[in-house]
Symmetry: C2
Subunit: 425 residues, 2 copies
């Protein structure tokens, strides 16, 4: 019998009523002839509430204990879900990450899965049960302590379990219908993408699309596990995230060059002005940032003005790391001898993503022309093989997304206004 792994988190398991609704969906999948494994995250605000309790008790809680605390959240949702399924006459058993065989390293709060040994899950399935597994958590291989996987953890649990169980598909449920060509709240004509490759999805996720976490897509890509992103509020097909070949096979028309437009308003831009244009100056700047554990995204270094032999280095980083980065850089002022620092947090990143870019010249030109026609000024540029990103003023993000979406013909004829409650302009 084919195994289906389903992951539910957020609003689909926000309260008792939602849990009962999800239970019906799970039982329907079981009755359709599948073995079903369900991964759940914590209900609604549980994790935030537990964090708040931790902060009341300790300003800097030890990672081991924070993980022990936070894993109580999934314990609650999974037990309730198992009860709700039992209520529908179907046997269901809940398992902690540890019981499900999710073995991790010992990095509390951001543990990595190093093995999955789902013997108890297989036994439960063999006995006709539905297995409910706590997402986001595992057990350390060396210390046997409870760990959490950090952001995107439950999605990763689902993909890892699906891989270990050789499941047919890993279904990730949320309150949206799938992956769209752009955020429908910004672009009313955005279309749902039927299929997208792992590589494109990785670029979408890394550049602001919130639905799937980078890490879970990367795990799926490495193991070629199909992900089906869909809504728990409807039964229609969502978006399949699969390998590039399957995308081509599934396309019933010529494949679009650009798959989607992603945007991200969570970054800030720092410019180090007047850096002496000598070997090693840039290195010492970025070493200082690395030591402060700051993840840099885009980097641009201007050509130095020959007369002064000074250059400007700009980079983007998560906005919440701004203060930490400025402090680290300020300490370098005498060593490096730069002129001054500029911090700008009202920027946004707009990216076009598409595997077709590889074989289509002129994409960059079309993209930049569309932005120019919309009056959008480009502050920074970075590219990968299948992506072009620009940094623009934050208040120009919407215009840029719409311009790019239209320039590459991504829109549908119908406006997707119902699901998102848009105004349908």
């Amino acid at each position: 019998m084919s195994i289906v792994v389903q992951k539910y988190g957020g609003s689909p398991v926000a309260d008792a009523t939602s849990i009962k609704r999800v239970a019906q969906r799970i039982v329907a999948t079981k009755k359709a002839g599948h073995d079903v494994v369900v991964v759940v995250s914590a209900m609604g605000d549980t994790t935030d509430d537990l964090m708040e309790l931790a902060n009341q008790v300790s300003p800097l809680p030890p990672g081991r204990e924070l993980d022990m605390l936070l894993t109580a959240g999934e314990r609650i949702s999974m037990a309730l879900l198992a009860m709700a399924i039992g209520n529908l006459g179907q046997d269901a058993r809940s398992f902690t990450g540890s019981q499900a065989g999710v073995i991790t390293d010992s990095e509390h709060g951001r543990a990595k899965i190093i093995d999955v040994t789902p013997g108890r899950i297989e036994a439960a399935l063999a006995e006709g049960s539905i297995a409910i597994v706590a997402g986001f958590q595992g057990v350390s291989q060396t210390s046997k302590d409870i760990t959490t996987l950090g952001r995107g953890g439950s999605d990763t649990t689902a993909v890892a379990l699906a891989t270990a169980l050789k499941a047919e598909v890993c279904e990730i449920y949320s309150d949206v219908d799938g992956i769209f060509t752009a955020d429908p709240r910004i672009v009313p004509t955005a279309r749902q993408i039927p299929r997208i490759s792992y590589e494109e999805m990785l670029e979408m996720a890394a550049n602001g699309a919130k639905i799937l976490h980078l890490r879970c897509v990367e795990y799926a890509r490495r193991n070629n596990m199909p992900i089906h992103v869909r809504s728990s509020f409807s039964t229609k097909e969502g978006t399949w995230v699969v390998d590039a070949e399957s995308v081509k096979d599934g396309a019933n028309m010529e494949q679009a060059i650009i798959s989607g437009v992603a945007h991200d308003r969570s970054e800030a831009k720092i410019t180090v002005v007047g850096v002496p244009d000598k070997v090693g100056e840039a290195a010492s700047i970025f070493r200082a940032l690395a030591q402060a554990a700051i993840n840099i995204d885009m980097v641009v270094q201007n050509v130095s003005a020959a007369a002064t032999a000074l250059t400007d280095i700009s980079f983007t980083l998560p906005r919440e790391d701004g203060q930490k980065a400025m402090t680290a850089l300020a300490r370098l002022k005498d060593d490096v001898g730069y002129e001054r620092l500029q911090f700008e947090d009202s920027v946004g990143k707009v990216s076009i993503i598409g595997a077709g870019m590889r074989s289509s010249p002129g994409i960059t030109a079309s993209y930049f022309e569309s932005l120019a026609n919309a009056g959008v000024n480009i502050e920074m540029i970075s590219t990968s093989e299948i992506r072009i990103s620009v940094i623009v003023a934050e208040n120009q993000v919407d215009a840029a997304v719409n311009a790019a979406h239209e320039a590459f013909g991504l829109g549908s004829d119908e406006v997707e206004a119902v699901v998102y409650g848009g105004t349908g302009r």
Copy 2:
């Protein structure tokens, strides 16, 4: 180094502030030179809240899943307590029942401890850590599922761990100073008992004293583990529950014949009137009650009136089982041929308890005289080797407790009014 096991539950761990206060107490014990193992139960209303969630999802949740759900409660309190201790500069590690080696049978909701293998606790102590253990929970030996121990579970966890670790003492903390000669809310002159034997404590617990659960005292008695019942709000000595020899050794004056007066308002009385006085009639009545899983406490059968060959059988039982019992008995009416059933729920039980009773004649007479002088009518009587219990009208319980307390000279000169907020009459 000597090991001290401390158990905190109820108001001492009701919120973040309480947890921080308890943490200080624990660290003080550690600094006094002990290895410290702490058993905690869930914070405040957590267990009730989780039960409420379960009821919203399912009218009859499976035991396995209910246990999975409820054990989230201790997980939260123990992690927070470990954080609070860490904050004071002392290393603390929390352990689930399973991690602490609390092995049980598979009876979900009322599992029995069958073994304790606290290897991880010993390792943590050896490394200088304070070990925090979730009370009330264990892991099934056969199915490896999470179990809960039922009522009094956390106290039992504490005593079981103390026994397995060969601890010096098991300290049970609550918001009262110890065991009293009577409930100070009823008897303002009630004194705190410095030492009491396991046997007396068992009788006290079985007859209405709420501070320690029967099961934990029984476990301690079997393993001769001293229990120190004390308040988390003061540092003064509480009540030691120890073997009878140690009580004698510790008494600095002649030991009182009666140790205390217990009362219980949770029972009801059922009388089966006009039962044919034949062999087997009583047996069929009590078999029917046993099949309905009703625990009978006291039983009295009147001498049959020779003329009619009919007898009355009265018994007491937990008030909440009243309806179930009446239904079971009603079904027997034709088989047994009794005349009618009487149900009375406004009764109370008042018991005097004392190991000295064994060697002191006349206790029964003194007790009954004191009740008569106070105008209290006795409805039923039952005795053990170290206890005499009577059933009285519920509105006479206070008078009966006071009369007995005074008759056996249990009062102190000072009124214990401060702790209990009494009126000090």
